[in-house]
């Protein structure tokens, strides 16, 4: 009889359960999709390191399971409150609580399983889209496939079981605590206040703001100094930020209220009183949930931002490390081996070069040297002597080589007169280059005085000089009687290089021992195809995981806000009816509804957006050295916020429409 009643209830109250189903379907579609992609053969075989995507997704899924469990628990509580009167009636009729509980759990489980099955199919669609995007990233053709391996399905089932064990347990606990009286009169109950003393709330608000500011400052400080022993700073910063996010959500409502009620002009104009009072009640009673939402939004924005920054960093990394299809470096060095770590590898290196000449269609090639006089005429301006000590000496590049290198990149070359020198470097030395330009000092090389033509950070590649972050370009005929810092050979091939090419070339560098063991002796060579594969998989793994988190969070936030606002609509129905009876026009009521929903949706995002913009600054500091010169962190963070707001806006509109219908459509219930 019980299961019959449960099934009948499910069938007939499907409309009420739409929110619940949508929540579960969305959440599990994403879980399915990301798992499918990370386990799909095509993706894992893209490159050797892509296998790690699996583990990244599993790791992220652990966080996701917690968040989804919380979300479904929240949705179930919403359904429970909506149906409390019905349960009360059951109890009045003499059904035992245990049985009612079982009924409710059964209903939720049935719907959960239905939603799970639906999300399986939606997950396949999403998964295919994600795969297509990833394949596109690797410039591989993609075919839609419906083949699903068993592991992601089993994993998703495991997540489902974990989530439902938790939520059903919570729900059952909630039911146990309920008295029949509570159930019957839950709708009429006023929510309890968490902070009773109003006086302290404003003081607390200011304290929370200060905590937040301190947290952000510490965070930035940490990224500026970046030393392992500073981890404590970061930890403290994170704790402060979390407390401040919750605290501000709790107290901001009251702060605004006090502000407004002191100003009669604002208080009594239009519908402000109504909206503000509604809002105050909200921040008081569901401050905890709103705080969690703010936290999720903050994490979401930071994750999305990181994902974009990472993408740029990896792309830049490829350009910096492997500017040409094949780069044979460190062939020979006359400078102390303790400094360059190279020595004489010419014999082996020429084996590579011969092999490349024989096996590849070469479009362009260059054999060049980085030279030094062990002087400090320019490097004295570069204070920051790195750990590797590469700034110890000025190192030079002939202008003909420099121009050839630029030409091979497909960018404009420079002209240098016989009495000029030019300095180029990467982003990390930008301020020193400015200093050099300011002092505009003449240098003397081999008895000839050279004046500064200029400096640039444009088109510099770290790969040019085995990791040196700046280089001095000099006229060819001055470069005499110099020591070789390092010797390189670069090629541009007709066909794109691949991971395989790297393996073949590296194999030349192996020495084979008589007993069959291999030992790597020498292969400082950079194959662009290999670098691309490595960086793209690392980038995909990071971006993919971060996007996974942010998609789930945005779903969670949108759903919870919708649920909250809609549950308000049931409670507010009478208030709005009353307003109508008091003679407020329909248009005006719609406007008030819009204001109320806007307040609900706006409230949890203001503080996170502020935090996101400030942390974007800190993140930029952290990644500054590795991102491209054209990368602008402000643009990135605004794109991030933009994407977030678009998805958020969809939820907002959907909620507004449903809210309006709820209020107007009395007969539907």
């Amino acid at each position: 009889m019980l299961s019959k009643l449960a099934i009948r209830n499910v069938k007939r109250s499907l409309k009420d359960y739409i929110i619940y189903i949508v929540t579960v379907v969305m959440a599990f579609s994403l879980i399915f999709a990301f798992n499918f992609v990370s386990f799909s053969k095509e993706i894992t075989e893209l490159s050797a390191t892509m296998d790690n995507l699996k583990y990244a997704v599993i790791f992220v899924s652990i966080i996701i399971v917690f968040v989804i469990a919380w979300l479904i628990n929240y949705t179930m509580r919403f359904m429970f409150e909506k149906r409390s009167k019905e349960f009360g009636t059951y109890m009045i009729l003499g059904i035992e609580k245990k049985q009612i509980n079982r009924l409710f759990l059964l209903e939720n489980l049935i719907l959960g399983i239905i939603a799970f099955i639906i999300s399986f199919f939606i997950g396949i669609i999403f998964g295919n889209i994600f795969s297509a995007i990833v394949m596109n990233l690797f410039e591989m053709p993609y075919q839609i496939s419906l083949k699903i391996s068993l592991t992601p399905v089993l994993l998703s089932v495991l997540y489902f079981v974990l989530i439902y064990t938790f939520t059903l347990f919570r729900s059952s606990h909630r039911m146990k605590k309920m008295k029949i009286h509570d159930l019957l009169y839950l709708e009429k109950k006023n929510e309890e206040k968490i902070w009773k003393k109003k006086k302290y709330r404003n003081v607390l608000f200011i304290i929370f703001v200060i905590m937040g500011a301190t947290g952000l400052y510490l965070c930035d400080y940490f990224f500026k100094i970046m030393e392992p022993h500073m981890m404590l700073y970061l930890l403290v910063a994170i704790i402060l930020l979390i407390i401040s996010i919750y605290g501000i959500t709790f107290t901001l409502g009251d702060f605004i209220l006090v502000f407004i009620s002191k100003r009669k002009k604002i208080k009594y104009s239009k519908d402000n009183l109504f909206v503000v009072k509604n809002f105050e009640a909200k921040s008081k009673t569901i401050g905890m949930a709103l705080g969690t939402l703010s936290l999720l939004i903050t994490l979401n924005l930071i994750c999305m931002n990181m994902s974009f920054v990472m993408k740029d960093a990896y792309e830049n990394n490829i350009e910096q490390q492997a500017p040409y299809d094949i780069l044979v470096e460190g062939m020979y060095s006359e400078v102390d081996e303790s400094w360059t770590g190279i020595g004489d590898n010419r014999e082996k290196a020429w084996e590579y070069i011969d092999y490349i000449h024989q096996n590849y269609d070469i479009i362009d090639e260059l054999h060049y040297q980085i030279l030094t006089l062990k002087s400090h005429q320019v490097s004295k301006y570069i204070d920051d002597i790195g750990d590797n000590g590469l700034y110890n000496y000025d190192s030079y590049l002939k202008v003909s080589d420099y121009n050839k290198l630029l030409e091979m990149l497909g960018v404009d070359t420079i002209e240098l007169k016989d009495d000029e020198y030019f300095v180029t470097g990467d982003k990390t030395v930008e301020e020193y280059l400015e200093k050099i330009e300011k002092f505009n000092e003449k240098i003397t090389i081999n008895g000839r005085e050279l004046s500064l033509k200029g400096t640039t950070i444009k088109n510099f590649r770290l790969g040019w000089s085995t990791g040196n972050s700046f280089i001095i370009v000099i006229p060819d005929d001055v470069a005499k009687n110099m020591q070789v810092v390092t010797e390189l050979y670069v090629f541009n091939t007709k066909n794109e290089t691949t991971e395989e090419d790297n393996m073949k070339l590296e194999a030349i560098g192996y020495y084979e021992f008589p007993d069959g063991d291999y030992i790597a002796k020498y292969f400082p060579l950079t194959v662009r195809g290999y670098m691309e594969a490595m960086n793209k998989s690392a980038m995909t793994i990071f971006s993919f995981s971060l996007l996974y988190i942010s998609f789930i969070f945005i779903t969670v936030v949108g759903t919870i806000l919708s649920i909250q606002t809609l549950s308000d609509s049931n409670k507010n129905k009478y208030q709005y009816k009353l307003l109508e009876k008091l003679g407020v026009e329909k248009n005006q009521i719609h406007k008030t509804i819009r204001k109320q929903i806007t307040a609900n949706f706006l409230f949890p995002i203001i503080y996170p957006i502020i935090i996101a913009i400030i942390t974007a600054f800190s993140i930029n500091r952290l990644f500054y050295a590795v991102t491209s010169a054209s990368m602008n962190y402000l643009v990135t963070i605004f794109i991030t916020i933009g994407i977030f707001l678009v998805i958020y806006g969809i939820y907002y509109i959907a909620t507004y429409i449903t809210f309006k219908n709820n209020i107007e459509d009395e007969s539907s219930r």
């Binding site: 209830n9 009636t89 009045i92 009729l93 003499g94 035992e96 609580k97 009286h181 019957l184």
Partner: protein, 254 residues
């Protein structure tokens, strides 16, 4: 025979500093087959009293006996069974289940009591006939009128032949015609089916259908009158007289 007996029942709300004595040391008895109304102004404690009797709420102290059972001593699990077998409820806002049809709503009480499934339909039809709702059995609660909903609730309360039917403002949400029909139905339930009914109301017209009216003030019984052989109209006037006293300064009356 006594169906209901209350001994020194107290129900206090609130914290130590701010106690509301909703029911204050109240004792009363209801005989089998009686139709009793409890009247009083808002806040006089009538709904709280009914909630205590119906086990929806717990008493602060005192004892409530239904039949020979002390319901204040029952455990939660026993309470469910007790309600199932002994009590019928009629609420102001009906408390019907919107997902079930009228006939399913009525049969629910039987199904819960594990009645023989073959008997269920017959019994539902039988009671629906008596209460004049057989036409709407296959409709949903939101498709019928308030009066019909309330008669459905009556049928549900009655179908198990409970010892005691508790009604909380049953006419509260009905228009006057529907109210009258419902009260006549309840009067018939009481007379023909010998149902014991305890009804809370603030409406003297509703109360005039009963055989006995208790007046509550500040959680205590203020007065009690019986209809006896009087006509309904005479009784109605008498109730109005008491209400006038109740509304005025009590010390003047004493």
């Amino acid at each position: 025979m006594e169906i209901l007996k209350l001994e020194n029942v107290k129900k206090y709300y609130g914290s130590e500093k701010n106690i509301t004595k909703a029911v204050n040391d109240l004792s009363l008895k209801v005989e089998e087959g009686e139709f009793v109304a409890i009247m009083g102004a808002s806040g006089s404690g009538k709904t709280t009293l009914l909630n205590c009797i119906s086990t929806i709420d717990e008493v602060t102290s005192g004892h409530i006996y239904v039949g020979d059972k002390d319901i204040t001593e029952l455990k939660e699990k026993e309470l469910a069974r007790f309600r199932r077998e002994n009590l019928g409820f009629i609420f102001q806002d009906f408390n019907l289940l919107n997902t079930l049809t009228i006939s399913e709503n009525i049969s629910l009480a039987l199904i819960i009591n594990k009645e023989n499934p073959n008997e269920v339909d017959k019994k539902v039809k039988d009671i629906a006939n008596k209460l004049g709702i057989s036409e709407i059995l296959n409709k949903y609660p939101y498709e019928v009128s308030g009066g019909q909903k309330q008669r459905c609730a009556c049928a549900r309360a009655l179908i198990n032949k409970p010892k005691l039917i508790l009604a909380d403002e049953p006419t509260g949400a009905l228009d006057s015609k529907s109210s009258r029909m419902l009260l006549e139905t309840m009067e018939e339930m009481n007379k023909k089916l010998n149902a014991t009914i305890l009804m809370v109301t603030h409406d003297s017209f509703s109360a005039s259908f009963c055989a006995r009216v208790l007046f509550l003030k500040d959680g205590k019984i203020f007065n009690e009158i019986r209809r006896g052989e009087k006509s309904r109209k005479e009784f109605f006037n008498e109730i109005l007289d008491v209400l006038t006293l109740l509304g005025g300064d009590v010390s003047n009356v004493k």
